[in-house]
Structure formats: structure tokens, C-alpha cells
């Protein structure tokens, strides 16, 4: 079961931040969205999402707030904070650089 490895965890963080970039979402919605986006490639257990959420919340990158869903149930909606937004920007840049670097390595090989 275990914890996600460094790479996966970093990826997961990035995915979470990306998912809620435009509108706050609750846990299940985030999980569904991540599954969609990664086209089921990322084999992350839904459960490991929640520790990640709490960690991000503790780090101040996202903020949770209880609110009613469209079906009227109470859910905790997570939204990006200002530091979260900056972090996302940095991570996307890093990710892009990394992708480019991998591209270069592959091309030169």
C-alpha cells in the first residue's frame, strides 16, 4: 500500500494544484478529475489523495472550506491559496524544464 514515492508524490501534488486551479473542488471530484486527466495512466490509489490534501493544506498551498455540493451534501472544498498559486507556477515551470531536458536526452541518445 505504502506511500507514494518522491516522483509520484511530486506529480500528485502538481496534479492536485492543477485540478483546483480554476475552481474549488472536494476530494472525490479531485480524484475523478485526476483519473480523467491522467487517462488512468497514473495508478494512484484514491485513498492516498487525502493525506496529500491534508499535507498541502498544512503547507498552506491549499485551503479547505466546508460547503454544500449541488446535491445538497456537506463537503470540504479545496481552493488554491496565493502561495499555492505561486507554487503551481513554479512547479509547472520546473515540470516543463524537466520535460524539455528529458526530450533533449532522448533526442541526443
Amino acid at each position: 500500500m505504502g506511500k507514494p514515492t518522491g516522483l509520484v508524490q511530486g506529480t500528485l501534488d502538481l496534479l492536485v494544484l492543477r485540478t483546483i486551479e480554476h475552481e474549488p473542488k472536494h476530494g472525490w471530484a479531485i480524484a475523478k478529475r485526476i483519473q480523467q486527466v491522467s487517462n488512468e495512466v497514473l495508478k494512484v490509489q484514491q485513498g492516498s489523495l487525502y493525506p496529500a490534501l491534508y499535507r498541502l493544506e498544512k503547507e498552506g498551498l491549499i485551503a479547505g472550506r466546508w460547503a454544500a455540493t449541488d446535491t445538497g451534501r456537506e463537503a470540504k472544498f479545496y481552493a488554491l491559496t496565493r502561495t499555492g498559486r505561486a507554487q503551481l507556477k513554479r512547479e509547472v515551470e520546473a515540470w516543463t524544464r524537466l520535460s524539455v531536458a528529458i526530450d533533449l536526452v532522448i533526442r541526443e541518445a
Partner: protein, 886 residues
Amino acid sequence: MAPLLRVVPWLRRRRAEQEIRRELELHLALETRQNLERGMPPGEAARAAHAALGNVPLIAEDARAVWGWTWLDALAQDIRLALRLTGRAPGFTVLCVFVLAFGIGTSTTLYAVIYEVLIRPLPYLEPAGVVRVSEERPGAAAPTRHALLSNLTFHAWRDAGVETLTALAGYERREHAVTLPDETLRAAGAGVTPGLLSMLGVTPARGRLFAPDEPADTAGVVVSDAFWRGALGARTAVGSTLLVDGRFHTIIGVTPPGFFFPDRDVLLWTRFEPPRAAPDDGNPRVTAFFGLGRLRAGASAQSAAAEGTTVAQRLTRSALGRDLLFGVGGPPVVRVRTMAAESTADVRPALLVLSLGVALLFLASCANVAALMVGRNLKRARELAIRSSLGAGRRRLIRQLATEQLLLAATGGGLGLALGWGFLRAVSALSAGYFPAVRYARIDAGAMWLTLGLVLITVLACGVAPALRAARAHPSRQLRTETSAGVALPGATADNRRLRDLLLALQAALAVALLVIAVLLARSFVRLTAVDPGYSPENVLTIGIRVPGGFEASDERKRLMQATLARLRALPGVTAAGGSNMMPLDGRAFQAGFPVRPLPDEQRRPAVATTLRYAVTPGYAEALRLRLRAGRLFDERDAARDVLPIVVNREFARRYLPPGAVGTRLMWGEPAEAEIVGVVDDVLKDGNDRQPQPEMYVPMAPRDRLGTDVLVVVRTAQPSEVLPGLVADHVRDLSPYATAEIMPLADRLSLSVARPRFAAVALGAFAVVSVLLATAGLYGTVSFAVARRRYELGVRSALGASRGAVIRLVVRDGLRVTGVGLVLGVAASALVATPLLGGILFGVAPLDPVTFVAAPALLAVTALAACLLPGLRATAGEPVRLLRCE
């Protein structure tokens, strides 16, 4: 700050936990609904949702871990668990805490005392170079206990130029009456030669010290920081005057806080100039005082002593005074010893023996706790195995065990420090009279951390490591073997047992050695107090009156004495009152010397006889109840005669007079003739442990000198509560500035044996603690052995072994170990400890047979009890009870 912030969310954890649960529930509900919408049957939908999410409690736990308060939860759980387990084994807990507390209590106390007395450096610049200088005559019986220097040697050495010392100084202790605006108080002081304080390297906090070339007639006084803050209220400035002994002195300086010389009770320093004898004086005035110097770089104490001895032996002038002060013996020898060594010389061996004992005691208590823990953890091997097989990680187990042990250590350590504090209070109260340094001993942070650190290490090393080893290897085998026979536990190997037996034997040895010493000291103390001092101290009040600024001349003091006596004799209940120039246990000595006509029958007699010379008024002998052995005391017949009547003690008669001493005539200055009119019993003036010395009593005459205090003794028919108050009133009547020291003679006597009493009580307490510890260790071990062999003992009983046989089986091992310890302890105390005690003991041989039988017997009895108790408990009731394990 950071740990606090981490605790804050912990306080809100209940709400946070609910949130996690609600979130996960919502997730499951939404997932299930989606699955239903995709057409799954209801049961299948829920199961799939669960499968997709994963292990819900684990997720919750991981989420909690993010918040970082799990360690606190685990700690709370560990403490809860530890308390519960502690409650389940109260005997073990109490024993452990007791052993730790006593071990720590005694060792911190003694560490504090030893540090204060032996280790703390003297508050002087480079204290190692400060030396005491004294002289003695080899073979002479000096009349004083102190090592002193004579003014003759002092000046001769200074005049010759001191090579090996940078400075040679002298001092004497003084007792001052200091008159302040609203009271006159007594203060201990010291008269110092002008260079002494600067030689010690003191920098005054204010003002200055005595200058080496200070004119002899300046009446300056240097006061201590304590006196300046206390009596002077930190207000009086340098340069103002202070009335000391009725004379105006100028305060020239204040010493820095923490400085003391020569003892902490000394509050002020005045000038002291050793008298210089005129070169042509046939019988120069001789005084003796304490000599002090500082070694020049490169010089040793030996070379300084050699230089001083050369100077002293060059002094050929005979001086009667010198004979009186230093006794009659070989040519003078100068001794030089470092002050640090000298000031602790008399207590050092005792304290070293004691600290060795403390170290052993501390080790013993640690060993006891270790033995108890090993035993207990073996018993718990099963519990640990269960925990381990249920998935408790190694780290979790260590943490749990450590928490338990730390809880024990903290309780034991805390109690121990409290106990140590109490011990220290008791010790300083007991030793207040003669051992003032102890009053300043403190359990400081250093001592505290040292002991606590040692305890923690012991407890963790003994408690955690073996238990883990026991639990680690094969939980399953552990579980199986334990339930069947209760034997072959890992950790209970022969090696372990031998080590434990050795520790137990050593403890018994230590306990018995301490017991021997304590009993010896106690018996010695009893002997000491049973000695006949030659007077009877009950219902006698001693009074010392000092009037500063008046009564300077001896005849004035004598009038004061007569006035005082007249008033006292008129008081109801007073049966006798008398005055003298000295009295028992007052620390004064008026010595007289006279040439003895050679008597044909004895050759060993010195050419000069020395004796204590009491000048007394009528009533003195009656007040002290001196016992007349032959002849008579003074009476009115003496006034009519032209012959000086003398009463001597038996020692005087034995040494200097022919048999049938009464009636012997002596040549005695003016009046030319003296006659021995009576012989009284020896008075042990300087304490019960002293040998009798020659004493003579003469009626107080106009030319007799008195000390600075007017001394009076009063006997009442009954113990009197009001007399001290009446005396004090009377003294105030005489002069508002007068101070009186009023003390029952019995108290003086009790104070004079305070030191041996302290030694006996301290060692006694120490011995009791070590016996208790040894017994506790033995009890713990035997109980453990019984618990381990429970099943076996049950089988034996069930098969028909008698109760006695089973008990014998249990007790045998414990007693064998104790026996070895007893032999070791007795041998050790006979070989090592008793020779060290030889000089301290009074009236008891170091190898006193009573002691050497009683001490081991006492320990044997407690050991037997410690072994029998678990045996009896195990064999009480039905054997089947033993077979029903757990």
C-alpha cells in the same frame, strides 16, 4: 515556539478526526452512487467503492500523521500503558522507585558535601600557591591543637629575607563586639598582618586593603561583603567609622562577594602586628599565631620548610614563652603545607572513604534496579512477544519500554533529589557547630544533571535492551515455551545470573562494611559521652561578658566579675557562682611554666613544667563540682597566711610532685613560697577525647590577667529556664553596650562531641540505607527466581515435596550469595576501613569483637527475611495454584 505550534492542532484533534471521517464517508457515498449509476448492483457498488479508496482507517491515520501529532498520541498511549502496567506490579514499582530514590538521595547529598568541602577552590588568586606556615618541636606535647608560628621565628625569617615565599604573613582569629546605632553585636574577625589580604590576591569591591607599609597606629577595618550588606545595610560608605570593641575604626575597604578568609564566619579584618622582642630582652614576649605565605614560582613547600627551619634553628635565645606555647622538645622545625590541603586535612580521609562508599552505593542501587528490570522484563517477554506478533514495530516497542522506564526513572529521580535536599538540610543542621562549610553545600545543577543522567542511562540500558533481546528473536517460540514449562527463557543464562550474584554479593559486602564502621563510630561516641570530664555539667550556666569600650584593665573586669557574682548569688535557686580566667570547653588556655626541682626518683621530667593555670574566685570549684581527692579547697585561712595556696589536679601531682602531694612547698615567684593545699580530679578542659593535662588553681589575685571576656559559672539547684534571661538583663544593666554569651555547660559539652556524633549519625544513616538497598536487591532477585520457577515449584509440591523443602530450595541461593558478601565485607572492613578509623575511634578497638559479630548478624537476619518472604508467599496455599500459570 515550534513544539507549541505543533501541540495546538493536537488540542483540536477531535474535530479534525471527525472531518477526516466525514470526508472519507462522502467520498465513499459519491463513488458508490457513481457505481450504481453505471449499473452495478448495490452491494457490488459499495464494495467497489471501498476497494478503490483503500484501507479507510489507514488513510485516516496517514492523514493524521500529516498533522504531526501522532507522536503525542503515542506518548499519551505509552504513558497510559506504563501507568496501567505499573499499577499491575506495584511491588516492583515501589521497590524500583525506593531503590532509585535512596541511591540518588544519598549520592547527591554526599557529592554536594564533598564538592563544597574538598573540591571547590578557595576564593583566592592561584590558591594552590597559598601555604600555611607553622613550627613545632619534635617530640613535644604542644598544648594547643593548632599548628602555629611564633613571633620570634616570624620576624627572624622576615629579617633574614624570605627566599622561597613571595610574602610571609600572619593572622589570628578575633572575636569582636561591634557597636551599631541600635545594637551591639558579636562578630568573628581576623587580625591580619598588612600584606596578607593583598597576598591572597583579593581585589576590594570598594575602598582598599591594608597597605604593606600601613602605619601601625591606624585603626582601619576591612569588612566582608556579607557584613557590609547585612549589618551595615549596604549604606555605610568607605571612610566612615565603625565602633569595634569600643574603639573607633575607619572602614577602609569592602571585600568582594564570595571572598572569605580564613573561614566563612569571619566578617571583618583588623590589623595585626606580631610583637617584636627587643634584642636584649632576656625573656622575650612570645606569641603564637597562624602563619601564611605564598610560594615563589619554582619553590616547593619542602624548600620553603627547609628555609624556615634553618632560620628557626638559628634562634638560639631561650624563651620560656616558647616552651609554654610549643612544648619542650627537639630543635624547632618549620612546616609548610598548602592551605587547601591543610584546611581539609582532618576531614579528607573520612570524606574520601565516604565518597568511595557513595560511589559503591550508587552503583549498587543502579545494579538493583537493573536486576529488578531484567527479572521483570523476562516475565514480560510473553507480553512483548504478543505485541510483536500483533505487528508492533521494533521502534514502537522500544518507545513503549523506554516510556515505562523513564517514568520510573523520573519518579525515582525526583524523589531522590527531594530526599537529597532533605538529607543535606539534616546534615548541615547536625554539623553546624564545627563544620561550617557544609552549610554552604548545595545540590547544584551540575550534581542534579549528573545523577539524573546516570540514572537514565542505567534504566534505559537495563530496562530496554534485555527486554528487546528477549522479545526479538522468535515471538512464536517465545509464546509456546512460556506457556508450557516456564523455563529456558532467553536472557536468563548462566552468565547473567553470575553477574547478578556478584552484584548482590558486593552489595552485601558494602552494607556489612558500612555497618561495621557505623557501629564502631556509634560505640565510640557512646564511650566518649560516658567519659568522666571531672566536673558535672548539669544545671550549670556559663556566662561570658564583654563590655566594649570600657573595663579595659583587668582590675576593672575583676570588679565587673565581683558585681556580677554578687547579683547572681542573690538570685533564688542559685547554689554556687564563681569566676575564673578560663573554664571547660571555652577554647582559652592560660599556661604557666615553672622550673621543677629535680626529684631523685624520676629522671624523665622536663626541666620546665607546664600547666594550665586557673585563677579562680571562691565558688568556682563548687559551681563546677570539682571533686576534691586530698587536702582542701581554698578558704578564709589562706588570707591570713603569707604562702600562696595551690590546688592541683591529679595529673599535676602525678607528673610533678612526690607521693602525698598535699603540703608540698614550691618556689613560686612572689610571694616566694607556695603550698599545695589540695588535689582535685582531672578536668578534661578541651574535650572528652583529650588526655588529662596538668592543671593548677590559685585564688584570683590583683595581678592575674583575664581574657577579653569576663567568665562566670553559675550552678542552680534545678534546671532554670529564667536564669539566662535574668543574666542578660543584668548584663544590660551594667552597660548598654555589653554583650553576653550565655550557654548551659551541658550544651557546650554536647557541642564538643558534635563531630563524633555527626560521624556516627551520618555513617549510621548511610549504613541503614545500604542495608535496605542490599535487602531490596536480594528480595527482588529471590522473588524473580521464585516467579520463574513457579511451575517447577508447583510440580515439586504436587509430587509431595514438603513446604520446608521447597522453601529451602528457594532460600538457599540467596543466602549463599549473602554469605559470600558477608565474608567479603567483614574482611574488607577489617583490612581497609578500620585502620583509617583508628585515629577517630575513642575507647573502642578498631577490631572490636562486639561490632564484628553484631554487624554481620544484623545483615544476615535481614537477608534471611528477604529470602524467606517470597518463598513463604509462593508456597502458601494449594500447589495447584502454582501450576495454574497466568
